[in-house]
Amino acid sequence: MTAAGSNEAAAAPTHVETDVLVIGAGGAGMYAALEAARAGATVVLADRSLIGRGGATVMAQMTVAAALGEQTPDHWEHHLSDTLAAGRGLCDERLAALLCEDGPRRLREMDSWKVGWAREDGHIKQAQAPGHDRPRCAYVDFLSTGPAVSRTLRSQLNAANGVRRIGDLLIVDIAVRDGEACGATALHVPTGQAVTLAAKAVVIATGGLTGLYRRNSASSNMGGDGYALALRAGAELIDMEFVQFFPIGHLAPRLVGMDPIMWDPFRYKLGGKLLNAEMREFEQDYATRDNRSDGRYVLTRDLATYAITREVEAGRGSPAGGAYLSFQHLPESEIRSAFGPVVDRLAANGIDLDKHPVEVAPIAHYHMGGVRADETMQTRVPGLYACGEAVGGANGANRLSGNAITEAFVFGACAGRNAAQHALQRSMLWSPQTSRPALDLLRSAQRRDAPNLAAVVAELKALMADMVGPFRTEQKLRSALEAIERLKGEIGEIPFSSAAAFDPVLADWLDLRNMLLVAQSVTVPALARTESRGAHQREDHPGLDDTWCVNQLVTLSRGSIELSRSTPSTGRAAA
């Protein structure tokens, strides 16, 4: 490993070598790094934010689903049945089975690392979440699952041998040689230096794309950059049209210092009533009609999003444009015993649950689609792996509550182990030539301040929310594609910059290069899918269409997006 002086950065980029490069240090990336190191590989764990701070894991509030059988007897096959049912025919059963079968082992491993799963009468407490047939979701009180998971994995990484952690490192492109992944090229954000990374295997663990939407529950770095990296490296994306909207994201009053998805745990523990402007409960109206319904009173996320949006459209929304969520029927003591110190944090925001309802509305929360990988987490590009939310397929058209952190653990561990095995059998393929295009891109950056790229990012997010949101039409999707093309023209091919050190303008440009490609990768298959299934709802094509029980694949060919179809995989992964 060498480190060039900053004054010669332009001439000699800093170069780093490793067996396995893991991109993204959320739950999946940290687990991948730990497993790769356990398998004997040297690892670089890179994140554009700080290690273990960015991404979605740290934001998780509560549920982690696994058939532990602690609360009530359970078997992973029951968890699988629920996962497949929620996925509405599109799950890759190999990946879903891997998630459900290996989940309990990973939750117990986290338990042995002292994550602190909530306990009751000596056993791990498991809550029931919508779509699960029994209590299956472990959690850490109070609303601390994400921070506890991140802290635990960070501690394990601190103690691990062979893992080098590098924060503030923005990966620009995967390096590819003769069709194989062999490293990456990056921007070191604090100095503005280019960095080249040689690796025998690369793992994409960058999370999802909910940062593409105006209202979302993501960290700032979740604009889908890993999907763009994978596409440009030659990998396929799958199920990109399926963006999960979390139905009861906090809307009003303004709440700071808390995650907008925090009301789900409140509903798991306390029930709570979803009311329209007439102060009438309406979930039941949507649970018993048409083929959007699963016939249950407690609506899964896609149905609840539909219900709230329809109520708003019918003029029965709350003042801020959502629904009311009320806990006023509960005594203050019960709310406090369930959420302890959280009640005080709410009070500091002027929220008093036993006196007033809050307003909630759907918010972009998770992406079912992602990089297509086999049951070893390898993409079609040899040496390129993906894990966590960045992988598509396991959850089909709709994800069950609680499966996201479990898949981060399971797929992270699987990708890390297999990437290490791959790396240990390979020689280093990286050469300076493989990083040349990305280095040239960085060196071509020019000082420019118009258009304001922060405003362009905001414009793209508004566009995706309004035109490629939970309810879609051909007209909206076509206008989205036109607008994306226009924005591509506005940012051009030459990066904008404003300063050497910690340049947010250059970061925005590199983000937009990825975000616009990924926005297209969502919109094109959404336009093609002329039916409504799970999280993809077409107002002009309501209802399931059996001929659409297929996955759509997105690839990049000479800079253009290409779409193809494939039958969902049913073969299970080997245990």
Partner: protein, 111 residues
Amino acid sequence: MKATLAIQRGAPGAPAHIESFEVAFEHGQSVLDGLRALRREADPSLAFRFSCINANACKECMMLIDGKVDYACTVRLKEGVTDLAPLPKKALIRDLVTEIAPPDERLLPRP
């Protein structure tokens, strides 16, 4: 309502200067909301760290707010002037950004 953010800007090796921006806000919005609006509306080159935006989970947006170390995502915007400066005991990178990563999580050793 309008808030004035008086921001200490600059990079190491040159004297810092204060730039003031006015930003419109609604009751309850955070200092981080104001900084993000400033980038969209006035100066996209303004550098500050944040990741989780609103959850106070990532702890990256720590800075000096009216002379006190605090999180930009939880301190509310107010009418009148709010002074913002980088953390005083950390190495300055630029504007409100300091080196807060643990030493073994950095690419380069401290110069």
